[in-house]
């Protein structure tokens, strides 16, 4: 039996008190760990999805909504913009790359994104199976989509209008899976990617894979009827008007289609810093368009969320200080009862520094147990949350990732336990053994 063993024996001897102190610390450490896991994984995910995208161009509306809908694929789009904007931006020498996005449809709540192969390349998407789409209605699906729907290569499916998965089904516009992507840890994992033309086709613009020309008018009509849906709220009156024209002249209809072609948003990468100065102003001056910088909007969002996170963090730190105080009180009163024991330890030849270490160790052991349990509970809660709420899984929340900040929390908790034991332990150096022996008969 050593003095270290004695520390453990004392903790065991007042088991309920020890358990309550550990529990208190476990709760505060777990809260901090959960906060760390959420905020670090969330902001990392935010950063990864927006990496390399300097500007998003879309319809007028909330800039945050534009960023959320077109980069993170979580909110409804602000509307559509004319396809010609794509050509205008591509012609701009200060722009390095423009990727178009056409949104509005989904399959079993996985979003169908009409775009170009550059979008997949932007997120370093590699084919796990199959190939990249080449023709309209060919789709490449993200790893999570493949897992969630069980779809394999050659699987045909029909998209439904709207992003929630319970909208109108576009019949006779079957998509086909031609490629499945390996996991990228980005938004790409939960998307169905297809050429822009597929989305146009599904809504009656352009030509579908098996449609003949006679069907065209009906689809044109359908599209107009759907315009109230999110992402398609372009000028209704104009549309009706054009629809009349179409009814009169097939050739004119084709012409009108070309003029009508729209996309939902454009992801822009700058070539030179000059673009950052010039381009947003240029775009925002146009009545239909708005430009939003992901970095600016996400900073804004995180600072809004940040207030809440800071409040919870302050609460957790308060809880941690409380548990430190509780350890202090427990050790202080326990050591008062043990003054006779400590005097006896001295009589048996234990040196004061050794007894001091033995008392501090008691606080450290308490804190270490609470801290380690807190980390385990924190990760367990995150795992439970990720398993319970699919949205959290979508964000890529993982309970198996450990952050360096957790080590800081654990060390801080242990240091606090040692600190709480310090005051009672220092009494060892001042104690008069003969007097204590007389007082504690």
């Amino acid at each position: 039996m050593t003095l270290a063993g004695l520390s453990l024996a004392y903790l065991k001897d007042r088991a309920l008190n020890t358990a309550l102190n550990i529990l208190l610390l476990t709760l505060s450490v777990a809260t901090l760990v959960i906060l760390v896991l959420f905020s670090s994984q969330l902001s990392e995910r935010f950063a990864r999805d927006a990496q390399g995208i300097d500007l998003v161009v879309g319809a007028k509306g909330s800039p945050l909504q534009l960023i959320l809908s077109s980069i993170y694929q979580v909110d409804v789009p602000t509307g559509n913009i004319p396809l010609e904007t794509l050509e205008t931006l591509r012609a701009d020498p200060t722009v390095a790359e423009v990727i178009p996005l056409a949104l509005g449809d989904s399959f079993r709540s996985y979003r169908i994104v009409g775009t170009e192969s550059a979008y997949v390349e932007h997120y370093n998407g590699r084919m796990a199976e199959g190939r990249m789409f080449e023709a309209p209605y060919e789709t490449v699906i993200g790893a999570q989509v493949a897992r969630g729907t069980g779809a394999g290569l050659g699987q045909k499916f029909e998209g439904s209008h709207g992003l929630s998965g319970d909208g109108h089904v576009h019949e006779q516009t079957p998509f086909e899976v031609v490629g499945i992507l390996a996991p990228t840890g980005t938004v790409l994992d939960r998307l169905i990617v297809t050429p822009v033309a597929s989305v146009w086709g599904a809504h009656g613009f352009g030509t579908g894979p098996s449609e003949d020309h006679d069907d065209h008018e009906d689809h044109e009509h359908e599209t107009a009827g759907h315009d109230e849906h999110a992402g398609h709220d372009h000028e209704h009156d104009d549309h009706e008007h054009e629809h009349d024209d179409v009814a009169h002249d097939d050739d004119a209809a084709h012409h009108a289609d070309e003029a009508e072609l729209e996309v939902t948003a454009l992801l822009v990468k700058y070539r030179s810093s000059l673009a950052a100065v010039r381009l947003p102003t240029f775009i925002n001056r146009q009545t239909q368009l708005q430009a939003a910088a992901p970095a600016v909007e996400m900073t804004r969002l995180l600072s809004l969320l940040g207030v809440g996170i800071d409040a919870v963090r302050a609460f957790a730190i308060l809880l941690m200080i409380t548990s430190g105080l509780s350890i202090f009180v427990a050790l202080y009163s326990a050591l008062r009862q043990r003054e006779g024991d400590m005097a006896m330890l001295r009589v048996m030849g234990a040196r004061p520094p050794a007894i001091f270490g033995h008392i501090v160790l008691e606080g450290v052991l308490l804190a270490a147990a609470g801290a380690l349990l807190g980390v385990i509970v924190g990760h367990w809660v995150v795992a439970f949350a990720a398993a319970t709420f699919p949205q959290l899984q979508d964000m890529g929340l993982s309970a198996l990732r450990f952050e360096p900040a957790e080590a800081v929390i654990v060390l801080a908790a242990i240091a606090m336990g040692g600190l709480a034991a310090l005051v009672p332990a220092l009494k060892v150096f001042r104690v008069d053994i003969a007097q204590t022996l007389a007082d504690t008969r």
Partner: protein, 222 residues
């Protein structure tokens, strides 16, 4: 009498005052190896103070104490702890077993503190000698007073100290138990080779010890 080199405990001109009042006055006393001594006197005669000075827990106002040839009374505190650890085992009336440890663990801790390591064979042996084999893993609060005393004696002896000091070990006991306690102290000290110094106001023990040191309440000095 013993020669100076054989003297385990040697006291000379020892006097201790608290707030100007003399609480202990021992002009001279010596005990050699195996010379068990009974320290007797009424309450307030300075028995506990003498024991505290001999074990190095307090520094006397004047005079000196040598333990196994070393001048305990003028050593610095750390050296005193070391000397005590090496040479003296203590039994208190209130036992002072560590409450969170079993009997066996109490002995093991005492041995580790004194020797730097535990010797389980010696511990088991001693526990057997004091008749606590069946209570070796009991907590102190589960022991009867008699069992607790036997455990405290075993603990004082487990590091095989040259001197075992006992402060009023029998005062709370009836006649039969007091004598049994004295027998136990004497017999276990015999097997480990320890020299006993027992402070008591209990006259029942007088017959068992050949040597006594009688203290009287010191005169109040101005």
């Amino acid at each position: 009498m013993t020669t100076p080199s054989e003297r385990l405990i040697e006291v000379q001109g020892l006097r201790h005052e608290i707030a100007g009042r003399c609480v202990m006055d021992v002009p001279a006393f010596a005990a050699g190896r195996g010379e068990h001594t009974l320290l007797i006197g009424p309450s307030g005669s300075g028995k506990t103070t003498l024991i505290n000075v001999i074990t190095g827990l307090i520094t006397p106002t004047s005079g000196e104490v040598r333990i196994d040839g070393e001048l305990m009374s003028s050593l610095p505190p750390a050296k005193r702890d070391q000397l005590r650890r090496r040479t003296i085992g203590v039994v208190f009336q209130t036992l002072r077993l560590i409450s969170a440890l079993t009997v066996r663990q109490n002995l093991s801790l005492a041995q580790t503190l004194a020797l730097g390591h535990a010797e389980p064979a010696i511990i088991d042996d001693l526990i057997g000698q004091v008749g606590l084999k069946h209570r070796a893993d009991a907590m102190p609060r589960e022991l009867s007073h008699g069992e607790g005393q036997r455990a405290a004696i075993a603990r004082a002896l487990c590091a095989r100290p040259a001197i075992v000091v006992a402060d009023e070990p029998t005062s709370a006991l009836d006649d039969a138990n007091a004598l049994a306690m004295a027998e136990l102290l004497l017999s276990t000290a015999e097997t480990t080779g320890a020299t006993l110094l027992i402070a008591t106001h209990d006259n029942r023990l007088r017959d068992r010890f050949a040597r006594t040191l009688a203290l009287t309440a010191p005169q109040v000095t101005a």
